[in-house]
């Protein structure tokens, strides 16, 4: 079990090529240091004044000799042994004391915790090296004292990191269980806490050991560490400094060894940290680019501008998430038309692709991993998927504005809300700061925020959820857009506020004569404001029709089940059935109808071939072999 875990960790570590390189460097240096006594090297302390300050590559002295004629290669090898040993021992000492303090403080909590951590804070109130110098001043110069000094100043790092984790571990049930079973405190600390905080100790060791080698060498360089005739890399550098001009090799060579060693150790430290604490992985976070990437193989299917007087016409839109060689088809073959002033709803469960579709329209899906794999998005007849960045930017916020789901996370937390609205205006119109500000205040008044001039200076965290979403709406209205895309704008709000915000959004967009594309999972909302509705399932549109028709006479079995899930007021006898089963995974979509597996009307043909959207007699469009007959209730 342990061995298998070890192999898995090593497999993770090995993926970081730099970390493997660092490990190789350190293994070589440590290996050389270990075999130094058995190598045929000259005595590192043998002075030979006749042959002093010979340059590197001299006969008999590959790296030259120092000011006393001693062989630098031999001294370097022996010095590396000393530096390594001192650095490693200092790390162990710091880890031992620091971790003990951290575990005890975290486990005991209360006054002991307070006392210990205030003491640690005190040590950290000193600049790091200064504290080390102070300790050396107390103990006197010398290699062991330098070791202790560096160990002591590193204790706080271990204590803090370990305490942080210990507090969490100590609060868990198995520690209580151990306590109740009458185990002694020392036993609990040793057998329950220590194994759980070990990863943190290892991470802290791997990230500090390089520092400690560097700093002990530094103290020796200052003449406060290794004393002659003993030598470590730092004291060799210190000796060399005085002869820098005559014999630069004396200082540069030991410095280079320290550098290579410390770099190797730092690379290992990064690698270990990545393996043991994936959250901190430097490469794990990827930055989304300014616009969703469009696949070079995109097939701009469908005729350009087929619908009459359409404001927005989407044809065959496909958006996928490309993660580790797999493609998750979030939206596939989506057709959608929005005419001026119209309100179109997209309804579906979470994961149905409705939000991805909405974000794809202005290419706001994060890349990586998102990518537009196909289709067109025609706005006034021009394909936004082909638009250059500047043109796309000119459309965003000016012609097409978004209202997002959760104003808690979609408003910038550190910018006053008035300034965020003003920025939306100034991004598209050359307006003075003051003019933009007064327009922002007017917008705030429009969305019903009392005392707007004062509220403009407020930060989002100072406002309620409903007010924040009003800000979001004000921001969307700022430039009088032709199309507002609202992505579940009321979902994150209290039920009591939802209706108000919804009405506000609908009223204002009518006032401004803007079309609205409304993304929701809530059929109640659909009936209130939408003219037409698209129902999405597993990334595809499965049914399109007027809001009335969809709600009153759903033809697709999925829509039907979905509507049946909505509780009706005053219908106590209504049986609410969850739809059995789960939607198919987006990277393994089945052939044929994605809903077939959960559908009671399925036949063999449902799981075969492509299934197109088919128009029914009454203007309804449905993607189903066996639509529910009209008038069947």
């Amino acid at each position: 079990m342990k061995g298998a875990a070890g192999i898995a960790l090593w497999a993770l570590y090995r993926r970081n090529r730099l970390a493997v390189f660092g490990l190789a460097v350190v293994v070589v240096v440590v290996g050389l240091a270990l075999i130094t006594p058995f190598l045929p090297l000259p005595d590192p302390d043998l002075t030979d004044l006749a042959n002093r300050l010979k340059p590197p590559l001299s006969a008999g002295a590959p790296l030259g000799t120092d000011h006393l004629g001693r062989d630098i290669l031999a001294r370097l090898m022996w010095g590396t042994r000393v530096s390594l040993a001192v650095g490693i021992v200092a790390t162990l000492v710091a880890a031992l004391f620091g971790s003990t303090i951290g575990i005890v403080a975290g486990y005991r909590g209360g006054r002991i915790d307070n006392l210990l951590m205030r003491g640690i804070d005190m040590l950290m109130a000193f600049p790091y090296m200064l504290l080390a110098l102070t300790i050396v001043a107390v103990l006197g110069p010398g290699l062991m004292n330098a070791l202790f000094a560096i160990a002591i100043v590193n204790i706080p790092f271990f204590a803090r990191n370990v305490r942080g984790v210990s507090v969490g571990v100590a609060a868990q049930e198995f520690v209580d269980a151990a306590r109740l079973s009458g185990l002694g405190e020392i036993r609990i600390l040793w057998s329950e806490l220590l194994p759980n905080v070990m990863p943190v100790i290892v991470i802290t060791m791997s990230t500090t050991v390089g520092w400690m080698i560097l700093e002990t060498a530094g103290l020796s360089f200052l003449g406060l560490g290794a004393q002659p005739p003993q030598a470590d890399l730092g004291s060799m550098l210190g000796d060399g400094r005085k002869l820098m001009i005559v014999a630069p090799h004396m200082a540069t060579i030991p410095g280079l060894v320290i550098f290579v060693l410390v770099m190797g150790i730092n690379l290992i430290g990064d690698g270990i940290r990545d393996v043991l604490d994936p959250r901190l992985r430097s490469g794990a976070l990827t930055r989304p680019s300014a616009a969703t990437a469009v696949s070079p193989e995109r097939v701009p299917c469908g005729a350009a501008a087929a619908a009459e007087n359409a404001l927005l016409e989407v044809r065959g839109l496909a958006t996928g998430f490309h993660i580790g060689g797999e493609v998750y088809r979030a939206a596939e073959d989506v057709d959608l038309v929005v005419r001026p002033g119209e309100c179109v709803g997209i309804v579906g469960e979470s994961g149905s692709g409705k939000s991805v579709t909405a974000l794809s329209l202005a290419r706001l899906v994060a890349t990586p991993p998102g990518r537009i794999d196909g289709g067109r998005v025609l706005f006034h007849g021009a394909d936004l998927m082909e638009a250059p960045m500047a043109a796309l930017r000119a459309v965003r916020g000016e012609d097409i504005a978004y209202v997002f789901q959760d104003p808690q996370t979609t408003l910038h937390p550190l910018i006053p809300v008035g300034a965020q609205i003003a920025e939306a205006i100034r991004a598209h119109h050359a307006l003075s700061r003051a003019a933009a500000r007064s327009r922002a205040i007017a917008l705030l008044e429009k969305v019903g925020i009392a005392n707007a001039p004062a509220r403009a200076g407020a930060y989002p965290h100072q406002l309620s959820g409903g007010m924040r979403q009003r800000i979001g709406i004000a921001m969307a209205l700022a430039n009088g857009p032709e199309l507002i895309i609202a992505d579940e704008p009321t979902t994150a709000l209290d039920v009591t506020v939802q209706a108000q915000v919804l009405r506000l959004l609908d009223d204002l967009r009518r006032e401004e004569d803007a079309a609205l594309l409304f993304i929701t999972h809530d059929f109640g909302v659909v009936s209130t404001i939408c003219d037409r509705v698209l129902v999405m399932y597993a990334g595809r549109v499965v049914e399109v029709g007027t809001a009335e028709a969809i709600l009153g006479e759903p033809r697709h079995p999925y829509t039907r089940r979905l509507i049946d899930c909505v509780p009706r007021l005053g219908d106590a006898g209504q049986a609410i059935d969850a739809i059995p089963g789960l939607p198919p995974p987006a990277n393994r979509l089945p052939a044929g109808c994605a809903f077939a597996e959960r559908c009671e009307r399925r036949s063999l043909e449902c799981t075969r071939g492509e299934l197109p959207l088919r128009p029914l007699a009454d203007g309804h469009v449905v993607r189903c072999h066996h639509p529910i007959e009209a008038g069947s209730g």
Binding site: A125, L130, L222, M244, I258, L414
Partner: protein, 315 residues
Amino acid sequence: MQAYLVRRLIMTVPVLVGISVIVFLVMALIPGDPARAILGAYATPENLARVRGELGLDKPLVVQYLTWAAHLFEGDLGRSYSLDRPVLDEVLERFGATLILSVAALALCSLFGIVAGVVSAVRQYGWADKVLTLLVLVGISTPSFWLGLLLALLFSVELGWLPASGMFAVYGGGGPLDLLRHLVLPAVTLSVVASGVIARLTRSSMLEVLRQDYVRTARAKGVAEYRVIIAHAFRAAVVNVVPVIGIQAGFVLGGAVYIETVFQWPGVGRMLVGAIATRDILLVQGGVLVVAVFYVLVNLVVDLAQHLLDPRIKA
């Protein structure tokens, strides 16, 4: 803001007391007879008796501390044995040089670190990111005392562009320009490690922030990309960067010890190394105390800056 300032000022009092206790204990903790340790080779019976009396070593530790602290309040840090002058005079004279060097290095590392981190994050996995990541790795692994020697060798000995020792030219120096010329190499050397640390943190912080919903909101508004990066993403990331700059101030103040030694910069750090070698404990005490108090002030300023930058922190 004012309430926060007052609270924060009150919070520094125990820290200052703690620092003074630790610095005081330096004397008390010296193994054996501190008077003998101070005097070293000059430990004649008369000298020993005099130093013991001066230090009040015959009294209990608490009384010793209070006496020492009382002197401290009067600006009396004792007299340096090796220099034969008041410790405070010497330390304050030296501290100016350390201040110039540290502030210059801190400004440089903030600039380098933030620019490198932002560029690295925005160009993630591009060649600029790769080059910068490599530079950062080299930077944080380089012994600054070695780098100082290399830079001195290159720019001073080989090229003769910049002076490599002291603060002013011995003959005909003294102006601000002269100071600047002398400052370049030590300040750059001192800033390298901290630049690397700040760059790393800025990069990861920017990457974290760039994924946030509010950055998408800015893009949805049609805000120009440079503004998205600076006014939205960096504005949020800076809240994480500022505390790290504060921590780096501590490393810069400590690292100045090496750099002042390498470049013969007449600051507190070099003074301390000399004082330790000559066992001039009072001078060590004074130097450490002044720099530590300054570091407390730096942290105070950093916290206030943080408070201004992040309105979410409660007063």
